[in-house]
Symmetry: C4
Subunit: 245 residues, 4 copies
């Protein structure tokens, strides 16, 4: 690699590490969950940590995966069972540059109640659009699976469910959120969790006025210009906690 | 400026910085939200940080804005899109010395359920009076806005909604709280959030007895004498977390 | 004072300081609320901090009050408006050695919903007995008060409401909890808050089985032998946070 | 003991200490609750701390108990009243290597509402199987007990209620969770609490789709291979808090 190329990749790896730490610090992931970034030089590859707790990821733990979700270097460490979430979304969504998969706690309840949709309740959650789709793995793996996206077939089905949305809920499991930068994906993952919490509280007070689709779109456009403000705060907060050192 | 004048302004700026840190530490603001103070020497101007996360604001980040919400120094850093919240409230409420805008999480649900009012549930929230008014931006910007108070027209409409109240909710967005000192505004912003949390919990237990308007007024008068007690605690707690250093 | 007497008083003051810090660290008090202890040498007097945030209290801030709630040393610092909560309970409850007054957040909702009683939901809350009584200040001060126990008359009315109970809720305000040691009072204040949280959650799941009065009594007897286990933990946790230094 | 044997026991004791700290740090235990491990050399004995707050346990505090729940060394420190939870489960469940007893806050509400079962709501909670059984102590100790498992008779009744399950709720008290390693027992105790929180939230949104029994079994098999990932994270988090030093 040239020095420039090498620096581009190093810089992407650092963002992946920071994203891991932020997602833990903001309560989106616990010991489980993962975040990837499309490879900045080889756009059908992606960068993702080896199988480990996100809070503890360092640069040395970030691996390169190919378009089929296989690690490029053979004989490496154990990798996430669900790397196919990432590979299959990158395959059909060329606009997507980063993918966050989590079991963030306020979102799971919306995944298991089929009559209630997760919808944009405030301007920070406009990216949810009309409502987040829900992926029911039973439709593809039967009623005896371990709920994990453990092969390309299930990854492709999940990617289909996601469609052109920013987030897809996974029944009895969690959610997957995408962005056109890693910072946008992290921003959306955090505010999907925040929005779910707000909606659950609001629904107990009475019938809720959600954003219109036009409001959802307009707020998304505005928020896209404000992402670094949150990112810099969250990075500082995560570093203050110093879990990875 | 004379030394005295200069010290008055510096002291005001320090309070604005402290208010930013307290509001973050108490969970009223996250990466977003802002707090301003009427300029102590030029009463139609106000002091407000540049566009950034409140937790990270330092004295150098606090700017002076004129009566129309324009920064006094041209060519400066990016400023908050919603500075018109502040300018328009200062314009029609000469009694107001400080303004807090936030998306504090327990309050947003009350902004989107038109049948349920945020009301004073305990003596710490007496300043809410009969109930907090709700500003519906659709009445002024149509149903396709980004929900932000991004011009003087919307700022004036919000200020009208606020009227003589201490707090106004903003549908799908958050709230704006005012005070006759910056410490009172911060105190009210914190206890608006606390009160919303208590009301939401109480409503699930059964029909709620709220404060009478007379009780709301009497508790406000008493609490106004106790604000420094909370401020000093919150300042120490915020400094212990040391986000801004 | 003899050396022994002096050491007895110093030791009591240290417990009062520790109790203040623990109550803050456990989320029972915020900037407001207070805890007192019957004077170990002059049993109709009591020890209570001057008017300040509990988290910041040091030994020098603890004052002696007489049986009528007046500070023994004239010309001292400002004192809590609601010191009559303490004086009037000590007057009619000779068994009480410590009193905690707080606005602990899970308890306030139970104070404003007249149809729902706070009851012992688990063995840690057995001291609540059949149910906690609720003090409605409107019955004594009319519907325009500031809800505070600001004189001996209201203190006596609250003490009557408390009766032989361990805790009394105060409508729109908070609660007061007593114990026959300061550690027991703190223990009960913490578990009143914990129990209120559990009851509110349980009530949303369906009809609740509470402790019988016999179970309430038996668990109280057992828990009274276990209080130091919690106290030592809470003290260490409070010191780790080091708010008062 | 040989050096090997001695190292095996020391290593087990260190795991018991770590488990104590993790359970506190993850909010499963507070000042109360306990975790034991079957003795690695003498399989009908077990290791359990003396009576103290779990967060403060050090290696010197871990004692050996015999099959009847008696400490092996006479004249030692005070021991937990409820050690019979451990002894009686080890007696009838040879597969069980570790036992966690707690009052974890989201679980208690499910213990007191007879019409609502705690069920596996997501893949992390598959070990709950069809639903967690509930132990009603009144059926064995009458309606005037202190709810504690204070003798072998009650311990045996609780063990019977547990049956072949991973977790049993205890009415008005808490729960007991078992594992075939201490890390698995801790993992399950944490995710019993997490699952209870999720289920309570989901139930307010509408009718819930739980895991099928086949899904519960498949997810358990998968999760058993991932336990160390969480354990290492939790251990680091607990050590960062440093309560026991």
């Amino acid at each position: 690699m040239s020095d420039n190329t090498s620096e581009t990749v190093s810089s992407a790896i650092r963002e992946v590490v920071d994203a891991n730490h932020i997602l833990f610090d903001q309560g989106v992931v616990d010991g489980f969950g993962h975040v990837s970034m499309r490879h900045p030089i080889k756009p059908n590859h992606f960068l993702l940590a080896r199988s480990m707790a996100p809070a503890l990821v360092t640069e040395a733990d970030v691996l390169e995966f190919d378009a089929d979700g296989a690690p490029v270097e053979a004989g490496g460490p154990a990798v996430y069972l669900e790397r196919f979430i990432h590979s299959e979304i990158y395959r059909i969504r060329p606009d997507v540059v980063a993918v966050v998969h989590s079991h963030s706690p306020a979102v799971v309840p919306f995944s298991v109640v089929s009559g209630t949709k997760l919808r944009p309740i405030c301007h920070m959650c406009g990216f949810l659009g009309a409502a987040a789709p829900v992926f029911e793995i039973r439709d593809f793996a039967g009623s005896g699976s371990d709920l994990l996206i453990r092969d390309a077939h299930l990854g492709a089905a999940l990617a289909q469910s996601l469609g052109q949305s920013a987030a897809v809920l996974m029944r009895g499991h969690g959610s997957t959120v995408v962005g056109n930068t890693i910072r946008q994906a992290v921003f959306r993952a955090v505010y999907t969790e925040v929005g779910a919490r707000l909606q659950s509280e609001a629904m107990r007070l009475g019938p809720v006025t959600y954003l219109t689709e036009e409001e959802a779109e307009a707020t998304t456009t505005t928020n896209n210009t404000q992402i670094d403000r949150a990112w810099l705060l969250w990075l500082k907060a995560a570093r203050n906690r110093a879990m990875a050192t």
